[in-house]
């Protein structure tokens, strides 16, 4: 019952369930941005970097490092979902309804509620705080990410409208797996779409993400048509390069075919984002077995090769970029040296 109530409030325009707000984000579109991570996503990608963003409902997680073992959370839970033993705190997910009582009581913020209700006004007030930085950057603005922000499309549409009123550029980061009306609702207020394209093969897509890609491609065509008739927004494609799933030359070439054939000229950037294993801890905390737990970072050489395949397969090779942490030398994006990124919180980007 509680969950339904939560969900109902989420589809209005007054409040939204927000996972996190990252200021001075440098990886979610042009310039400096404030990225709002909305909760909820229709796909179930096996490699998902932000598993805490999938469910549209609030969830709790236990951060071991902060816990002082006081047991307050055990007593606080009205449903008896929290237990403590010598090894730590355990949350019985089948009992927990995300009420957040444990998180409110925990003295050390070791019990954390993921997914907080934000009102429109409060959210707008929060993102304008970085106006001076954002408006001084090239194309900087606000990014709605997730999850898939389109799960809360009415709110996001109004939020974007308000952001643009404030003079901010808006970017929508979506996996495209959503009813087209949701997309239609947000497009008029969007300056840039960051659209995830993972696998060209429908069966493979179903295998790795739980759903075929037909809806996604349909939405992509919708975006293309919208761009053709309105001459905006800008469109970037993002492809997560995942070992054993999307990291083949065939897949990249086939995606290039989609970009060339279907989107012909509408795409101004195609980013290949290397698989990241830093989210291991997040799965553990949420009590989810992760298929990719032991997967290693990819080789920089492989990323470079795939990027070359991509470049060779599109008419404008300059739109292709790659980024992310890689194994070995930890060399990175576009031939520049890079240290592995220390971002352990929300790994953004592709998928």
């Amino acid at each position: 019952m509680k969950r339904l109530q939560n969900l109902n409030t989420n589809i209005g325009t007054t409040t939204a369930t927000v996972l996190n707000i990252q200021r001075m984000s440098t990886e979610d579109g042009p310039g400096l941005r404030t990225t709002v991570f909305f909760k909820g996503c229709g796909l179930r990608c096996a490699w998902c970097h932000n598993p805490e963003s999938i469910s549209p409902y609030p969830e709790v997680q236990w951060l071991e490092a902060r816990c002082i073992g006081c047991g307050t959370c055990v007593k606080a839970c009205p449903l008896g979902a929290v237990a403590a033993d010598g090894r730590g705190i355990h949350i019985d997910r089948s009992l927990c309804d995300g009420c957040g009582a444990c998180a409110r009581e925990c003295p050390a913020t070791a019990m954390e509620l993921l997914g907080e209700e934000w009102s429109m006004d409060r959210l707008v007030a929060e993102v304008v705080k970085d106006r001076s930085y954002i408006l001084n950057s090239d194309g900087g603005g606000i990014t709605a990410s997730g999850g898939d922000p389109l799960v809360q499309a009415p709110f996001v549409a109004e939020f974007f409208r308000r952001c643009r009123e404030e003079g901010f550029h808006t970017a929508l980061d979506t996996c495209g797996f959503i009813g087209t009306p949701s997309l239609e609702r947000v497009m008029p207020h969007t300056d840039l779409v960051l659209f995830d394209l993972k696998l060209s093969d429908g069966a493979g897509h179903k295998l790795h993400t739980g759903h075929s890609n037909s809806k996604i491609l349909e939405n992509l065509v919708h975006v293309r048509d919208y761009i053709e008739s309105h001459e905006r927004p800008e469109l970037w494609i993002r492809t997560p390069v995942i070992p054993g799933a999307t990291d083949t030359e065939e897949n990249i070439a086939a995606l290039a075919h989609v970009i060339e054939g279907l989107l012909n000229g509408a795409v101004s950037r195609w980013e290949l984002c290397a698989f990241n294993n830093l989210c291991r801890d997040k799965y553990r905390r949420l009590g989810i077995e992760w298929e990719y737990r032991d997967a290693q970072l990819l080789d920089a050489a492989l990323m470079e090769r795939l990027a070359n395949v991509a470049r060779d397969s599109v008419t404008r090779p300059e739109i292709v970029r790659w980024s992310g942490a890689t194994a070995g030398e930890q060399a990175a994006g576009d031939g520049q040296r890079e240290k592995k990124t220390a971002a352990t919180h929300l790994v953004k980007g592709c998928g």
Binding site: G31, P107, A108, T109, T344
Partner: protein
């Protein structure tokens, strides 16, 4: 077998000519050098003679145990100087002026390193203080008496209040005048002032002062003559024709400057160096904070003239690089003390680059870029320290160059200073101190920075920028106890706890307070007490310096001293300030926020329980400590409510500071925020604090949020800092335009970023936007660190490979491997926390 491979690339010098590469390598060979610039002590030969003046070191708690040792060892090693027969009939300032000149010109050897293009080598002196027996005894009483300066200073420090002492350096002498008028001009001017004195003034203190200054003004001339003949001797022996020519030219330069005005770039740099190094000789104090001001502005006419006269641009840079090496030899003073050849923290011979000019115009010029190239090619090196002034009209070309350098040097090889906020602070000072005729909207852009980032005017201003360092947190402690130490001070010798006494005002039993306002009021009263106590402590050493330690040479370079015929140590300068640096600001604000949150707003505990937890150093109070650390609001998150309290704390202590002047010298106190390394050391002195910090953990640094508190990232952090300083005036009526600033001295702010942020041009563009946003929203000065934790851990493991890895905190820059393990760990903790 320990691996010695270098895993991480650290910045290397580049593009150095063989000459400069040799000089630089020679410099870094440290104790192995045949030549160095170690202190040489000199005596008048009296048994009561003193060389080492401990007062300058009262702000360096690490030296407290050695003060006596330094004094006696310098005295023992001191070589006698044959005195003028009339010596003891002169006044103290005349004796001292004569003695320093005599030693520098006729006793300290003049030397020139191979290939060097700038003359002026040994300048680190411990010269006799030239006291008569009576003077020495009178001074000793003021220092060592039961109520003397040293005991007061020790009490103040041991009880966690901070430290204060009349310290040398830390100003920008009027160097430009030495270049344009020459010492001849300065001397003539002094003479005119002297001749304008009435008969009785001439016989009195005023006459003595001006005579001493005239003597001092001939020191650069006489020393230059010595160096000129040295160059001629070397030229005769020189076999390489090109070097022979250089030496001949140097001799010719020295025939003119610094006595005559400089006519070209080489002469100007030569003149500047001798003029500058003699300040350090005069004060017997190597380097700290004797700063150059706007180097790219006042050297620019000479640069332009020489370039158009055919000087090769690279040769111009070569002259500057020699100047760089000279500045670093200041560190030789204590070359055999400590593990890193006397090099610890940066001494802070600071200079500014770029910045605003009349009408808000940007002043970047060709020399700005040449100097940046010199820095880039010489880095890593500590001195002189660059501070780049940025503002809304800074050209993108300069910003791009600055960011490029940041990306290749583990962080900026320089500090960034922000004109709008800085000038707002200077304008506030003009109003608060009643010096509106000296600091005006038309000249305020000519401000410059001292030491690390302390803003002052130039050539007429001594603001004692590091002289008082006050732990604001102590007032919170005293508010709990009604004016007593929360925990007893353990006696260093006996290991026994001392008696707790009523030191501050009795503000009542905090456990009886029913409202937050009552606690705040107690805090207000204790803060007033704290500031007053600091002012009293300062007076204890200020009056001693004023009476016994004149610096007539330095006085010739500070406007006001000749006009008033008053030494710089006696209040001579036109602008006469002492800065109280507020230390522990973030910890203080967070502590107050925690008291409000835990005791009054959320009633998580009673006041008595909180006080007990602090007495117990949080031991056994885990839950309450966790709430204090994690649930209470914090400064640094751009949380308007928390930041409003930060502003309130700022307004309170700065208003108190403006209420005082020194008695002996009439210097107005003014506020600033710089913590040098006190936030580390005093963390072991101050009791546990309500923000959850146990005794022994570091305090917050300068105006920075407490470590780890800035959970919303750099922009939120910067916004909080800007707000704490005053923000922007909603009605447009700020101190400078709409900018407000409570801190004329400015405030030190450090943010550490992960190097990946600057990995490609696109990301460098994003970082540039951050800097531009900082100009609008942030504080007065920013130190950017670009270091990742892995590299620092590697450097801890293999220090031999990372000797030149510079880290910068607060403009307190230091070689990472030369700082203590605790501070190293702290820096690593900071960086690991950092997600950006």
């Amino acid at each position: 077998m320990e691996s010695t491979a270098l895993k991480f690339q650290i910045k290397e010098p580049k593009g150095l000519s063989p000459r400069i590469a040799w000089l630089r390598d020679y410099y870094f060979s440290g104790v192995d050098r045949a030549w160095n610039n170690e202190f040489t002590p000199w005596t008048t030969g009296t048994p009561w003679d003193v060389q080492y003046d401990e007062i300058s070191f009262y702000i360096v708690p690490e030296t407290y145990p050695f003060l006596q040792t330094f004094r006696s060892s310098m005295h023992q090693l001191a070589r006698p100087v044959k005195l003028d027969p009339a010596f003891w009939s002169w006044t103290l300032q005349e004796r001292r002026a004569w003695f320093v000149r005599e030693v520098m010109v006729n006793h300290v050897p003049q030397e020139l390193l191979p290939g060097d293009l700038v003359a002026g080598s040994r300048f680190n002196l411990q010269a006799s203080r030239c006291w008569t027996k009576n003077e020495a005894a009178a001074r000793d009483r003021l220092i060592y008496g039961k109520k003397g300066a040293r005991a007061f200073m020790k009490w103040f420090h041991d009880h966690g209040y901070g430290n204060a002492g009349a310290t040398s350096g830390h100003l920008i002498p009027g160097y430009e005048r030495a270049l344009t008028a020459g010492w001849k001009g300065i001397h003539e001017d002094l003479k005119a002032h002297y001749e304008a004195l009435g008969e009785s003034d001439r016989k009195g203190e005023k006459g003595a002062q001006l005579r001493a200054m005239m003597t001092a003004a001939t020191m650069p001339r006489d020393l230059a003559a010595k160096y000129a003949s040295l160059c001629r001797r070397l030229a005769q022996k020189e076999i390489t024709p090109s070097r022979r020519e250089e030496l001949a030219q140097m001799a010719a330069n020295l025939d003119r400057v610094p006595w005559e005005p400089a006519t070209n770039f080489w002469e100007a740099v030569q003149s500047l160096w001798i003029t500058h190094m003699l300040v350090m000789s005069d004060e017997n104090y190597p380097g700290p904070g004797v700063s150059f001001g706007r180097l790219d502005q006042y050297l620019f006419p000479y640069w332009e003239r020489s370039i158009s006269g055919g000087m090769d641009r690279e040769f111009g840079k070569e002259i500057l690089k020699c100047f760089w090496i000279h500045a670093n030899t200041a560190y030789d003073a204590m070359i055999r003390v400590g593990g890193n050849q006397g090099i610890t923290a940066g001494f802070g011979q600071l200079f500014n680059l770029s910045g605003m000019g009349p009408g808000g115009r940007d002043m970047t010029n060709e020399l700005t870029y040449a100097l940046l190239e010199v820095i880039d090619e010489m880095t890593p090196i500590l001195e002189p320290k660059p501070n780049v002034r940025l503002h809304a009209n800074t050209p993108d070309k300069l910003l791009d160059k600055v960011i490029d350098m940041i990306s290749s040097s583990q962080g900026a090889p320089f500090l960034l200073n922000f004109d709008e906020r800085s000038m707002a602070g200077m304008m506030r000072e003009a109003g608060s101190a009643g010096v509106e005729s000296l600091i005006t909207a038309e000249n305020v852009y000519d401000y410059a920075s001292v030491g690390c980032l302390e803003n002052t005017m130039v050539g007429n201003d001594r603001s004692g920028t590091v002289d008082c360092n006050l732990n604001l947190l102590k007032a919170v402690e005293l508010a709990f106890t009604g004016g007593k130490d929360l925990v007893p001070v353990i006696d260093f010798m006996s290991g026994k706890p001392g008696k707790i006494t009523q030191d501050g005002p009795a503000t009542g039993d905090a456990t009886k307070f029913r409202t937050w306002e009552e606690f705040w009021n107690a805090y207000v009263i204790q803060t007033r007490f704290l500031v007053k106590k600091c002012v009293e402590l300062y007076e204890a050493s200020e009056r001693v310096r004023a009476e016994f330690s004149p610096t007539p040479y330095l006085s010739t370079l500070v406007k006001g001293c000749a006009q008033k015929a008053l030494d710089v140590t006696r209040g001579g300068p036109e602008l006469n300030f002492v800065t109280i640096e507020g230390v522990t600001f973030g910890t203080t604000v967070d502590s107050l926020l925690a008291v409000k949150y835990l005791v009054f707003d959320k009633k998580e505990c009673t006041m008595a329980q909180l006080i007990q937890a602090l007495r117990d150093n949080w031991q056994g109070h885990d839950v309450l400590q966790a709430k204090a650390k994690y649930r209470a609001p914090k400064y640094g998150r751009d949380d308007d409510e928390a930041d409003a309290l930060a502003t309130k704390v700022m307004d309170l202590w700065t208003a108190e500071t403006w209420k005082y002047r020194t008695i002996s010298t009439g210097r107005q106190f003014r506020p600033g925020m710089l913590s040098w390394n006190y936030w580390v050391g005093d963390g072991y002195v101050l009791a546990a604090s309500p923000d959850g910090r146990p005794k022994g953990q570091f305090l917050s640094n300068a105006i920075c949020p407490s470590n780890g508190a800035d959970t919303n990232g750099p922009t939120a952090n910067a916004n909080s800092v800007g707000k704490a300083m005053g923000g922007r005036a909603a009605d447009g009526k700020g101190d400078w335009k709409d900018y407000l600033s409570s801190l004329p001295n400015g405030a030190s702010h450090t943010i550490t970023f992960n190097p990946s942020l600057l990995r490609d041009p696109e990301h460098r563009g994003k970082f540039k936007a951050f800097i531009k946003g900082y100009i609008a929203n942030g504080g007065s000065a920013l130190q950017v660190n670009m270091i990742d934790a892995d590299m620092l851990r590697e450097a801890q493991k293999h220090p031999q490979n990372y000797r030149h890895l510079l880290v910068r905190i607060t403009g307190y820059n230091a070689y990472f491997t030369s700082i203590g393990r605790e501070l190293q760990d702290e820096i690593i903790a900071r960086e690991s926390h950092n997600k950006y």
